[in-house]
Structures are given as structure tokens and as C-alpha cells.
Amino acid sequence: MKPIPVEAGLILAGILFMLGLISVLIRRNIIFMLISVEIMLNAAGLAFITAGARWVQADGQVMFIFILTMAAAEVSVGLALILQIYHQLKTLDSDAANKMRG
């Protein structure tokens, strides 16, 4: 089998990252923002795995484990915050939480 060029993996990660970025920027619903952030995190993890596979070292995969852990913690805390926002502001509009402005 022909070996996979490392650029392909990285470009795939890049494309997924961009898609997540676009989604974060245009969505107003907080939950969709969270989902988009997950997409971005996943794409970053893919980039790490690709790089680790390139050098045949386990470091990339170790990094991916850390990213996974962090994503899990972040989602749980983030969802708790979303619940609070919904409870206080009665809406899932992220523009409603704009009191801290200059």
C-alpha cells in the first residue's frame, strides 16, 4: 500500500478545524457553539495523531489523550454553565449575556 502523505492528514485536520470555526462564528445558540468547539478540538487531536504517526512516536497519541480529557472536563463544566444561563436568562441566546460591555 502506498504510504499516506502526512500533508493529507494535516489538511484534513485543517478543513475540519475551519468548518468548526465557521460554525462557532455564525451560531447564536450556545449549545451549537459548544458543539462547534468540540469539532475544533477533535480536529486538533487529529492533527496531533497525524504528527505522531509521522515520527512513529507515541507522543502524539499521548497528547490526544490529554486533549480528550480536557474536552470531557470542559464539556461537563460548560453544560453546567449553560444550564445556569438558561435558568437565569430563560433563553439560549448567547447575545443575551452581554452585560459586560464598555
Binding site: L21, L25, S94, D95, A97, K99, R101
Partner: protein, 627 residues
């Protein structure tokens, strides 16, 4: 004599103490500190004076510490005592003490009671520094100090706007003189390398030739400074307005002490003036012109204190005249006597005004000789001394000496003598006009209460001095006692007389006496005996009256020439470049603030967008750098 430094320091201590605790202690205790410090200073002065006189040495110098040593100028805080400064500190502390006692009762009901004594003590301390200074720099320190205190005290009742205006006017006009003085100091230092009085006296004749340009310029600059502080031509306009201050202030500052600072400085630097005859002639001319000008103005005034103010200007003109003809000790003698009777007149006037509820117009007073006898008699003695009634008043001896020397002195001439004689005539007229209108005749305003002891006692003491203090210097024709001149001889050289006129002295004296009595008679005629003669004379001279009432129009001229253009320029320049610069910076900052605060909208997507844009920028830059 080692206690010399206490004399100026004690009033400063009094002021400092009052600053600290003045508002906390009771009304009765404030004058204890305020007048007590001056009293202590007078006591120390007496001790030091006796010590100095008995030791027989001509001068005593005490350096407290070195002030600065920079660029060849080595100046210490040096106090030097000699006959001239002894006379001055005697007058300042003694008359000052009397005035402080007077003001302890006069200002008792005022809300600024401690503040008054603070300023008065500061003033006395600075004035003592001025006359005790051993070099011109310390003297300039005292000079500025008295200028400041004069401003503070004229505008003492600061809630009235016109008082602040008068204070500012005084300060600014004397500032003009101060600048001239400072430039004179600079030139002196540049040419002589020192500003110490004794060294100036020894070095000046070596460095300057008689009548050389430099020394004439220096002398004129010193004269400029003196003219400002002593309210002579052309800087005399501030003194009549300075009467806005309380009467004790007028008595102390604008009669007895500060305005004589000009006389002091000219006497102190007489070596410079002797080397510049044209400047000395200018001194005499300024004196002569001023005394006539002010005398004529005084004749037309109706405000009691303004008459006395113009009278002060006029009498200091006599002192300048004496200095100008080289009669140094005569000028100082007249200073001392004038301090006594002018302080007396101001204090008595203050009493009258206070007891008549701040009535200043003499034509609304009258008949006070019956209702205020003590004040009347002391005022009469002061007025008699001012008018120089022969033989019985001290003023006669001092003024007569000046008259005589204006004619017979080596630098005297007929014009100066005539001016002085006319001045004496006018002085008698306005003085007794004041006495007759305010104290004789029928009563128009009734005094409500009597003055207390604290106000009458200084009047009595000063009245005694105004009568008897003249006997220490009797002219040739009447005993030829020369105690005062001999006393001052180590410091001030004796005037040399034009020998041809020596035997004519008694003619001059009789003439002067006649003019004095003539003036008194005219005042009596027009105001008491046949007052109906007055209105036609008034209407005939009405233009002249208005002109003299406004002080010969100097105020109007200065206003048009100097004040209005300056205020106009300042108004145009209100939004000047520097202002615009700082305003512009504020405006720009505000603009950017609004611009940037628009980006902080609180909407999360904005912030994400910001992060993305930032990332793009960083990546682009690193790409470009590494390309």
C-alpha cells in the same frame, strides 16, 4: 548682641505658633501670642541696642548659616547691626508692638482674628529681616516677604471683591519695582562680585568711576525698586487703594514700615548713589515731584484714610528729597518721626472710623472733639507734627532740616527748595482741613461706644513721641544738637553744606513757619470761619478738583495704556495654543475611547471573531517573515 538673630525670628515663631494652634485657642490668648512675640522682639531689641551702643563698635555681624555658594556668589544668612539698622528695628519693633496692642482690640470681633496676627507677625519678621540683612540677597528675601504680607493684609477681608483687587494692584505694581531691583542686583554682582553691603561700600568706589554708565544704570534700577515699594512717582497708584485693608495694617505697613523700605535701601546703598550723581538728582526730583503731586491730591480727598495715604506718599517724597540732596541722616530722622505721627494718625483714624460704624467720609463726621476727646487730642498732636508746627512738634525739626538742606546742601538747589516749601504749605492745608472738618463743627454721625484702653494707650504713647522725639536733633539756630546725625555718622556720611548760605538758616525757618501757619489759616478760613467762601472756589476750580481727586489721573493713564491692552491680549489668548494642545489630546483620547469601546459589545461572537482575526494576523506575519 549674640541675641540679634532672635529679633526677626521671634515674630516668625509667633506666626508659626499661631498657624498651628491659632484656631484652637481662645480669643483672648491669640493676641498674647500675636502681640507678645512682637513685644518680646522689642525687648530683645532694647537689650541688643543697649549692648551695641555701650560697646562702641560701629557694626556687628552675625552669620546664621551659609545660604548658597554658587558661581562665585557666596551668600549667607547674615544679620548685621549698625546705627542705621538699629534706628529701623527700633521703629519697627516698638511702633509695631504698639500697633499690635491696638489691633488686639480693634480686630477682636473679626472672624479672621488669628489669621490677622499670623500675617502681621510674618510681616514684622520679614521687615526685620529686610533691615537687618547683611547682604542684598537676604534683604531681597525680606523685600519679597513684606510684599507678600502686604498683599495678604490689604486683601484681608477677602470676601469683598474690591479688596482683592486693591491687593492685586499693590502687589503687581510693587512687582514692577521688584523686577528693577532684581536686575540692579544682578548688575551689581556682575560688576562687583559681591552683594554684601560692607564689601559693596569698599569695592564700589574702586570699581566704578564717578558717573560711569554702569553705576548710573545700577543706581537707577535700585531707585526703580525703591520707587515701587515706597509708592513714589510713577508707581504710587497702589497706596491710596491699599487703604482697603484694616486700619492697623495701614498704620504699620503703609505708613511706618514697608513703604520706608525704599528709603532704607537708598540709604544703605548710598555709596552707589554717590557715585552716580544723575541718579541721585533723579531721587531728589522724584521726591520733590511726588510730594507736590500727592499733597495736592490729598487736599481734594474726602475719605479720611485716603487723605492719610496721599499724605504718606507726600512725606516719603520728603525723605526721597533728602536722600537726593545727600542729607542721609535727615531722611532717616524724618522717617523715624514720620513713623510716629503717621502711625498715630492712622490708628486714630481707625478708631474714629470704627466708632462711627465704618464711616470714612470726613464730611459726614464732625464735632468729634467733644464726643471723643482722647482721640481728638492725640489726633491733633499727630496732625500738628505732620504740618510741622514750629518748636513744639517733632515734625517741625525733621521737616525743617530737610527744607534747609534742600536749599543749603551741596546738591540742593532752589527748585527743590521751592517744591518742598510749597509742599509744606499744602501739607498744612490738607492736614488741618482734615482736623477741622472731622473734629470741629457740628456732629453728623454719633459715635455709639467708646474705645477701650488697648486702643487709646498706643495713641497716647505715639503722641508723646511725636512731640518729644524731635528734641534730639535741633538745628544750628536753636541749639545745634546733633545727637541723631552723630549717631548715624559711622554709617551715613554727614551732608556737606553750601557755606555761603549757612547764615541764612533762620530766614528759611521763619519762612517755613509762615507757610505752615498760612496753610492752617487757609484751612480754618474755608472750613470754619467763613465756609460760604468755599463753594465759589470749588466751582471755579472744579476741573482741577476732579483731576487732583483722581490722583492726577495716573490710574486712568495706566488703565488705558497698560491694563486694558494686557487684559485684551489675555482674553484673546484664552484658547491659546498650549490649551488647544492639551484639549486636543483629550479629544483624541475620547474619540479613540469611543471607538474601542464599540468593540467590547458583550456578544461572544464578536470576541471569537476578534480571536480569529488575531490568529490570521499572527500566521500571516510569521509566514511572511519565514518566506
Amino acid at each position: 548682641m549674640e541675641l540679634l538673630w532672635l529679633i526677626p525670628v521671634l515674630p516668625y515663631l509667633g506666626a508659626f505658633l499661631l498657624i498651628l494652634v491659632g484656631s484652637m485657642i481662645s480669643r483672648k490668648q491669640v493676641p498674647l501670642i500675636g502681640a507678645g512675640s512682637i513685644g518680646l522682639s522689642a525687648l530683645v531689641m532694647a537689650v541688643v541696642g543697649i549692648d551695641f551702643l555701650s560697646s562702641g563698635q560701629p557694626y556687628f555681624q552675625q552669620t546664621l548659616w551659609r545660604w548658597m555658594n554658587v558661581g562665585g556668589l557666596d551668600v549667607g544668612i547674615t544679620l548685621s547691626l549698625d546705627a542705621l539698622s538699629l534706628v529701623f528695628i527700633f521703629v519697627i519693633t516698638f511702633v509695631g508692638f504698639l500697633i499690635h496692642i491696638y489691633s488686639s482690640e480693634f480686630m477682636r470681633d473679626d472672624e479672621g482674628y488669628p489669621r490677622f496676627f499670623i500675617f502681621m507677625n510674618l510681616f514684622v519678621g520679614s521687615m526685620l529681616m529686610l533691615v537687618l540683612a547683611g547682604n542684598l540677597v537676604v534683604m531681597y528675601l525680606g523685600w519679597e516677604g513684606v510684599g507678600l504680607c502686604s498683599y495678604l493684609l490689604i486683601g484681608f477681608w477677602y470676601r469683598e471683591e474690591k479688596n482683592g483687587y486693591a491687593a492685586r494692584k499693590a502687589f503687581i505694581i510693587t512687582r514692577v519695582g521688584d523686577t528693577a531691583l532684581a536686575i540692579g542686583l544682578f548688575m551689581l554682582f556682575q560688576n562687583l562680585g559681591t552683594l554684601d553691603f560692607r564689601e559693596i561700600s569698599t569695592r564700589a568706589p574702586e570699581v566704578f568711576t564717578l558717573g560711569s554708565e554702569t553705576v548710573v544704570i545700577i543706581a537707577f534700577l535700585l531707585l526703580g525698586g525703591a520707587v515701587g515699594k515706597s509708592a513714589q512717582l510713577p508707581l504710587q497708584t497702589w497706596l491710596p487703594d491699599a487703604m482697603a485693608g484694616p486700619s492697623p495694617v495701614s498704620a504699620l505697613i503703609h505708613a511706618a514700615t514697608m513703604v520706608t523700605a525704599g528709603v532704607y535701601i537708598i540709604a544703605r546703598t548710598h555709596v552707589i548713589f554717590e557715585l552716580a550723581p544723575s541718579a541721585q538728582l533723579a531721587v531728589a526730583t522724584v521726591g520733590a515731584l511726588t510730594l507736590l503731586l500727592a499733597g495736592c491730591s490729598a487736599m481734594m480727598q474726602y475719605d479720611l484714610k485716603r487723605i492719610l495715604a496721599y499724605s504718606t506718599i507726600s512725606q516719603i517724597g520728603y525723605m526721597f528729597l533728602a536722600l537726593g540732596v545727600g542729607a542721609w541722616s535727615a531722611a532717616i530722622f524724618h522717617f523715624m518721626i514720620h513713623a510716629f505721627f503717621k502711625a498715630l494718625l492712622f490708628l486714630a483714624a481707625g478708631t474714629v472710623i470704627a466708632l462711627l460704624h465704618h464711616e470714612h467720609d470726613i464730611f459726614r463726621m464732625g464735632g468729634l472733639r467733644r464726643s471723643m476727646p482722647a482721640v481728638y487730642w492725640t489726633f491733633l498732636i499727630g496732625a500738628a507734627s505732620l504740618a510741622a508746627i514750629p518748636l513744639v512738634t517733632a515734625g517741625f525739626y525733621s521737616k525743617d532740616q530737610i527744607l534747609w538742606l534742600a536749599l543749603a546742601g551741596e546738591k540742593g538747589n532752589g527748585w527743590l527748595f521751592t517744591a518742598a516749601l510749597m509742599g509744606a504749605f499744602v501739607t498744612a492745608i490738607y492736614t488741618f482741613r482734615m482736623v477741622f472738618v472731622a473734629f470741629w463743627g457740628e456732629e453728623k454721625t454719633h459715635p455709639t461706644h467708646h474705645a477701650g484702653t488697648a486702643m487709646i494707650l498706643p495713641l497716647v504713647v505715639l503722641a508723646v513721641l511725636s512731640t518729644f522725639a524731635g528734641f534730639i536733633e535741633l538745628p544750628h539756630t536753636l541749639g545745634h544738637v546733633q545727637l541723631f546725625t552723630d549717631f548715624l555718622k559711622p554709617v551715613l556720611p554727614e551732608v556737606s553744606l553750601n557755606q555761603s548760605l549757612v547764615h541764612e538758616e533762620w530766614i528759611v525757618q521763619i519762612g517755613a513757619a509762615l507757610f505752615t501757619f498760612g496753610g492752617i489759616y487757609i484751612a480754618y478760613l474755608f472750613y470754619i470761619q467763613q465756609p460760604h467762601l468755599l463753594p465759589p472756589v470749588k466751582t471755579y476750580f472744579s476741573g482741577l478738583r476732579k483731576y487732583w481727586l483722581a490722583g492726577w489721573g495716573f490710574d486712568a493713564v495706566y488703565n488705558a495704556l497698560l491694563v486694558r491692552p494686557f487684559v485684551g491680549i489675555a482674553t484673546i489668548n484664552k484658547n491659546d495654543v498650549a490649551d488647544r494642545l492639551s484639549d486636543g489630546m483629550v479629544a483624541i483620547t475620547n474619540y479613540f475611547h469611543r471607538l474601542f469601546s464599540w468593540t467590547q459589545s458583550g456578544i461572544m461572537r464578536w470576541y471569537m471573531m476578534g480571536i480569529v482575526i488575531g490568529t490570521i494576523m499572527v500566521v500571516t506575519i510569521s509566514m511572511l517573515i519565514n518566506a
